[in-house]
């Protein structure tokens, strides 16, 4: 919406480089941004139109004053943040102040971004106004998609500290008052026996499945990366298949088959099933590290008198270790997150964390789920960091520039 306005005013104006005209471009555009925020702020007090007009004026004034009289960008921005936060506090206490600070940060950034012509940074100097507009719209769309990707995950984190049993922000939370927040859902997670037993089950199943998957998977990946492997394609297809076959089909098949051999409803059955599901990830990551493996290293090692076992332990293993560990992490997270197969292959004694969450979401919906979800997000951030560090280390060790 806001960008469309830029088009109306901007088309014939931005012809030369440098700073755009003040009254013909900067002030109106910043004013429109101000009007947008003003409309939102006004709406919360049932005065959308009034807010819009005041916002227009505030935005226009910012655009003019900052670009004409405040050359120091940092100082200007902090002043605006403080000023808008005070305005927000008047309208809506501490929550308003926080919102005001954010709006102030955005507005002051917009004012300098427009006023100093930074919006043309990403396009060549000869780009037409239309191209500039398209470029910025494109960046805006990308920003929106990134927001779409990350917002759902970030939203649940504050919600997990909700003092009420609601799944939405309460007025107390929005006004940032301490009564709106509590750790009770976390307390519930750490004291409720259902959740605790589910957590321990997950912690018992996932490592065992990981060990199985990594052990078998690494051996096989080494085998697969040998220069002459008969039926390589077919073997690879079979080993990767657990990743491709829809989980519900794996679950159905395992349920039928494991019932026949009395593995259904046992710890061993769940571990075997999860190991099978994790193996493709180990194979893929380990073969990927082995693809770039320099075979002359093993020959050199043999030349220097090392036997094959020593060569493997001292030369090959350290080089593929990062791949093995990240494969193991993938296998771990596969088992730790898996719910469909355990739902069918497991019994009540093997109820894992995702299973308990699934029940919680389906039947007695409780905000404890959000606390668990937050903990899991933190775990995934830790795992993601580990995998990324390992990947860089592996590339460095193999003499590639880390990317």
């Amino acid at each position: 919406m806001t960008d469309a306005t830029v088009n109306d005013t901007g088309d014939e104006l931005i012809l030369d480089k440098g700073e755009p005209p003040m009254w013909g471009f900067t002030v109106p555009v910043v004013a429109v941004f101000g009007g947008f925020f003003g409309f939102l702020a006004g709406n919360t007090n049932d005065a959308g139109l009034m807010g819009f007009i005041l916002g227009l004026i505030y935005g226009g004034a910012l655009g003019f004053i900052l670009n004409s009289f405040v050359p120091n960008r940092t100082a200007g921005r902090w002043v605006v943040i403080g000023l808008t936060a005070v305005l927000g506090f008047v309208l809506g206490k501490w929550g308003g102040a926080a919102a005001g600070a954010i709006v102030g940060a955005v507005m002051s950034w917009v004012a300098y971004w427009i006023g100093r012509g930074h919006y043309r940074d990403g396009v060549p100097i000869y780009a037409t106004a239309g191209q500039t507009l398209w470029h910025n719209t494109y960046l805006f769309i990308c920003g929106f998609i990134f927001f779409f990707l990350i917002a759902p995950i970030l939203t649940i984190i504050p919600l997990s500290f909700n003092a009420e049993n609601f799944f939405t922000f309460t007025p107390e939370m929005l006004s940032l008052s301490p009564e709106g927040y509590s750790l009770k859902h976390y307390q519930d997670f750490f004291t409720n026996s259902d959740w605790q037993s589910a957590m321990w089950n997950s912690l018992k199943i996932a490592p065992m499945a990981t060990i199985l998957a990594v052990g078998f998977g690494t051996l096989a990946a080494i085998g697969l990366s040998q220069p002459h492997v008969p039926f390589r394609r077919a073997i690879m297809a079979i080993l990767i298949s657990p990743m491709i076959v829809p989980l519900i089909i794996s679950a159905a098949g395992m349920y039928f088959f494991y019932s026949r051999v009395n593995l259904q409803g046992t710890y061993l059955g769940v571990v075997l099933a999860h190991a099978a599901l994790g193996i493709p990830f180990v194979i893929i990551t380990v073969t990927a590290t082995l693809v770039g493996f320099d075979r002359s290293l093993t020959r050199a090692s043999a030349n220097l008198g090392a036997d094959p076992v020593t060569t493997f332990l001292r030369i090959q293993m350290p080089l593929i270790l990062p791949g093995v560990i990240s494969g193991g992490l993938f296998a771990f997270i596969t088992s730790f997150d898996e719910v469909v197969v355990v739902l069918f292959v497991g019994s009540a004694q093997q109820k894992t964390l995702p299973w308990q969450m699934f029940i919680g979401l389906r039947e007695q919906i409780s905000p404890t789920i959000l606390a668990v979800a937050t903990i899991l997000v933190v775990i995934s951030i830790a795992l993601l960091t580990t995998v990324e560090l390992l990947r860089r280390r592996s590339e460095r060790m193999r003499g590639l520039a880390p990317s």
Binding site: A273, D337, L361, V377, R391
Partner: protein, 542 residues
Amino acid sequence: MSDATETSGPMLAADGRPLKASLNRALRRQKLRALMLIAPLLIFILVAFIAPIADMLFRSVENGIVEETLPRTVEAMDEWDADAEPVPGEEVYFALFRDMFVASEKKIHTRLGSRLNYETTGISSIFRQSGREVEDIAEIYEDQFDDLNENWTEEIFWAELMGDPDWFAEASATEDGPGPDFVLKEGMEDRLPLTTEAYLAFAEFTQTEDEDNPASENVWPLVHAMLYHDLTGDAAIDGYTGFGSEELQAAKEAVAEFEAVNYKQAFLDIDEDWGSADVMQTIKVYSPTYTPGYFLTAVDLQLNPEGVEAQPDDQAIYLKLFWRTVWMSLTITVATILLGYPVAFLLANLPMRVSSLLMILVLLPFWTSLLVRTSAWKVLLQQQGVINDVLVWSGLINEAGRLVMINNQLGTIIAMTHILLPFMILPLYSVMATIPPSFVRAAKSLGATNVTAFRRVYFPQSVPGIGAGSILVFILAIGYYITPALVGGTTGIFISNRIAYHISSSLNWGLAAALGTILLAAVLILYWAYDRIVGIDNVKLG
């Protein structure tokens, strides 16, 4: 390595063998070593994963239950020509009586009833009810034999009559437990074939299922009924002089006066549906060990006595569900392309430092638990949820106009698009990162506009990425279970949810397996296509 120059024959290796053979041997050893390394995993996957899938495929056509439960009936029905007479004759009901008696003792007749109930509604209750009442039919004979001579209801008498003397001596001395395995007296099978068969069934059931001694358990009334039929038929007891021969002779003379049972009539008395052509022909149609019935049901057809026909409209749900799964997966795939393409393009064209920071925003959802993301969407999309609250708060909608975005198709599409978006961005990015920027610059310097340069030069090179991402997303989408189950309500569920329902609620495992097989076939075709286009070795993670 070889001193081949010194000899004039074939090149020799250091150990004197021909070089070719030596190399071949080395190659063979190398191959063997590779296979040895792969073998443990291959065996593991074959046992823990491929075997279950094969089991599922087998179950989708397997139908042994009818033949196992009603073996004699199935045999008798072979003779019955359903076109000539819609309801079979007495022989079939006689066989059915014997089968039902044994099945109801073993309490497996209700299982068969539920199985056949999938095909013709109402069979389940007929079977359940008849199980109790076939015993009454048999007791007509038991009472008459009892009136004739009380020995005929003495279990010890029967044990001595039917059992091998050595076995009998041992069994009658056993006080607790099942005693020694039953051994039939020599020649009994020829003398009293039907009785022997019934008594063997009784003895086996008593010993293995109830863990009791046949010599101290009440004999099934079925045995008496069979004895009647043996004695009225061609029992060869004239030459028999062993234990009980007098009683047998006496009984043979007396049975002519016995009240006989018309089995067909008896079954009709239990439930007149036993006389319905529908019920009896369903049993006949589903008597083979393998049936296409489940697959036909899975595509909204049914196997009738008259042949294959379409299901009535109110029961035809599976094709609709398959179609919905496909179009919703396609919608999700298209949505991920539309959202993923700009982002991948941006990531591929930004400086490495910025793009790897932004990549975190893509990888974090990828690494976050599926249930976390699904619960986040559940929280966001609810009518009292965050998105509706924000819209109401900003005045875009009013309190009464809160949007329904969950428990319908929209909810499933939004949540799954978010969940599968990284699977589109990552392959797209890895393809786009390899497109040299100089191509587009060259096109522009040759006079192409931005749009033309993108459309004619850049886009065609990024198509493999779109292909790879689309197939990956589509494969993942059509098999999704958790997300549709949680945010899909009733209109947004997929075929997987129906499969799960048949496994855990309706217990129609055969149908679940057939639906799963069809889904699996679709996925394997796509997998094959993916392998051709991308190569399965080229899958990258993160």
